[in-house]
């Protein structure tokens, strides 16, 4: 075992995949200078040079379009979108082009594009640098979406994304970048579409996306002795591992979904829909979603905190579900 940060896990995944596949290259704003603004491409320039680590001008639509054309002609691009908020400049290449072409071409073209975008609330950067758009993309047929919340998953999911023959959006969490965890030595992958039971419990199932996994685990620990909480991190939203979630509901009979994205039309509603479809008869209380406020994220640190689920609000919501 060794210690690794979330940011270094991202670097390692890219370095390893670049070493085994010459078609893998990394492109994005500022990625080439000093390992990128958040040091998510550190070490790549030294090993693979400017041909395979390409810093771009501020032109998201162009370099995401470039990724589509490159993927259609035999390469395997990894695109870094600095803040996920900026991905909106590239909605056409993502939603209209890369998500559609494998299908529209009758399967002639694969689309091995990985889009790495960082999201997360908690860095006090206000409404245009704090958005969680996972539901927008999970709503788009043809895109896979994952949200690594641990160092282990940050590396493992990214490696799977790079190896996947379709477009995968990896939503990284910027609040976690410099968090350190114990990880195994050497190589591992985490398959897309496989949830993790982060904590075993018997009274209630908490499905937490992204950073809320940590807060849910903390809330569960606090409730220890009072309520036995099972915490599931789906890790991938598309494909979604409903088998693991449903098995847990059949055991606990209760569900709370937690995410930072606004509750309205959020991914929590989608999980609840699945649970109602697949295990309605096992439910002992109405399932709930605790999401972020249906508001732009305010700047002021105290207000920012109030807009997203926190350990105490999660603990309260768990109590309500178990009531």
């Amino acid at each position: 075992m060794r210690k690794l940060t979330y940011a270094d896990a991202i670097c390692e995944a890219q370095l390893e995949e670049m070493a085994v596949n010459e078609g893998v290259f990394v492109v994005g704003e500022d990625v080439d200078i000093a390992g990128g603004v958040y040091k998510l491409t550190r070490g790549i320039m030294e090993r693979f040079g400017p041909k395979r680590l390409i810093g771009t001008p501020v032109s998201e639509e162009a370099f995401c379009g470039l990724a589509v054309g490159a993927a259609m002609t035999g390469l395997r691009p990894v695109v870094e979108i600095m803040y996920m908020d900026f991905i909106l400049m590239a909605m056409d290449p993502l939603v209209n082009q890369m998500a559609k072409i494998p299908f529209m071409s009758g399967g002639q073209f694969s689309m091995p594009v990985t889009i790495r975008a960082q999201a997360g609330v908690g860095t006090v950067e206000a409404a245009q640098h704090s958005q969680s758009f996972e539901a927008w993309f999970a709503h788009t047929p043809g895109l896979k979406v994952c949200m690594p919340a641990t160092v282990y998953d940050a590396k493992g999911l990214l490696k799977s994304a790079i190896r996947d023959d379709g477009p995968v959006l990896v939503i990284e969490n910027r609040v976690l970048f410099y968090e350190e965890e114990e990880v195994p030595d050497g190589e591992w992958t985490v398959p897309l579409g496989k949830a993790e039971v982060a904590r075993v419990g018997t009274d209630v199932t908490v499905v937490s996306l992204g950073y809320t996994r940590r807060k849910a685990l903390a809330a569960a620990a606090k409730l220890d002795g009072e309520i036995s909480v099972e915490v599931i991190d789906p890790r991938s939203l598309v494909p979604l591992d409903m088998a693991t979630i449903a098995a847990s509901i059949r055991k606990t009979g209760r569900l709370l979904v937690v995410h930072e994205a606004p509750t309205r039309n959020g991914f929590g509603a989608e999980i609840v829909r699945h649970v109602i479809d697949e295990c309605f008869d096992y439910l002992d209380s109405p399932p709930r979603v605790l999401g972020g406020a249906d508001l732009p994220i305010p700047f002021s640190p105290s207000l920012e905190k109030a807009c997203i689920p926190q350990e105490t609000t999660i603990a309260n919501a768990i109590r309500e579900v178990c009531h």
């Binding site: 470039l66 054309g69 002609t73 082009q97 009758g106 689309m111």
Partner: protein, 324 residues
């Protein structure tokens, strides 16, 4: 053009006639209800697709638009499968999943039509990048029209193509209209090609109704691209003869239409006159070519009609592969 052989010119003529007749047939089948959907015809612009693709190799790339039949026939030249795709059949170029606007052919470097105006421009940038990355001398031609020339992505891509010296040719077919909007009402400049100048990209304007002028212009651009000298922007002045799309009424000035379809302007009549005049082809040769085209077209329509529709199983397979 002295460097074109008789065979090459003959083939260019054949392809122009093929596109014209294909489009006329599509129009007929559309009216008869055998082809449905949004159909954008290429009639009047044949010289641009043919003059451009005649310069290209099979392994060069092309990105096209919502008006792709001409580009597709010029680059891929598979009438049967193109017609089958128009009818949504399993034997179509895209297996019936794409239709008129989404013909694709990987083997011939045809990276697809596009339902999004300007949607192919970034893809062309990527194909050009890819050739450079892999160290090949493949070039990419990006077709678009005057309407797409006002999309922001074009200017992001011009900057990058110039900055990184990409082997790409921006081929703007100025057919004078974007849907119902005349170019005078959408462009602040008379010509579009000079917009490439501040990016340091060589540009040219050619007569888009003269297949040899298009060929000459594109040849220069392709030589530069293959030699690693970067991008070129070409504006081909032409005219969209048909209404924008099957469903949109055409309220254009009739005189304008008459002029552009006259023997002095129609790209096919012009090329035919020239081939006769320089004695490359005789009237009999031309008649024979036209008859061959008719036969091929008939076969293509018959092939498309007889082909099966895609099955629900093929949809399920496709779905499980990439639509988890």
């Amino acid at each position: 053009m002295n460097d074109l052989t008789r065979n090459q010119k003959c083939e260019m003529f054949r392809r122009m006639v093929t596109i014209r007749r294909f489009e006329e047939e599509v129009k007929r089948l559309y009216r008869a209800g055998e082809i449905t959907g949004a159909i954008h015809l290429y009639i009047g612009q044949e010289a641009v697709a043919v003059g451009t693709c005649a310069v290209l190799r099979d392994d060069d790339y092309v990105t096209s638009t919502h008006r792709p039949h001409g580009h597709c026939i010029a680059k891929v030249f598979d009438l049967k499968r193109t017609m089958a795709e128009m009818m949504g059949k399993a034997t179509g170029l895209s297996g019936g999943f794409g239709g008129s606007m989404h013909q694709f052919c990987k083997d011939k470097g045809f990276l697809g039509g596009n339902g999004i105006v300007g949607g192919g421009i970034g893809i062309a940038l990527g194909a050009a990048f890819s050739a450079q990355y892999r160290g090949t001398d493949q070039v990419t031609v990006c077709f678009f029209s005057d309407g797409a020339a006002n999309q922001g992505v074009l200017y992001e891509c011009l900057n990058l193509a110039a900055l990184w010296k990409f082997p790409v040719i921006f081929m703007c077919e100025n057919n004078r209209y974007a849907a119902t909007t005349p170019v005078e009402k959408s462009a602040c400049t008379k010509d579009i090609a000079p917009r490439a100048a501040p990016y340091g990209i060589p540009w040219a304007i050619c007569d888009g109704n003269d297949v040899l002028d298009v060929y000459r212009c594109v040849s220069e651009a392709v030589s530069r691209a293959r030699a690693g000298q970067g991008a070129t922007f070409i504006e081909a002045k032409t005219y969209r003869v048909e209404p924008h799309c099957g469903i949109i009424a055409d309220e254009r000035n009739k005189d304008e239409l008459t002029t552009w379809m006259s023997a002095a302007q129609d790209p096919i009549l012009r090329f035919e006159a020239r081939l006769l005049q320089e004695k490359t082809l005789s009237a009999d040769d031309i008649k024979a070519i036209r008859e061959e085209v008719e036969k091929e077209l008939e076969d293509a329509v018959e092939f498309a009609r007889q082909s099966p529709s895609p099955t629900l199983e093929s949809f399920a397979t496709r779905r499980s592969q990439s639509y988890a």
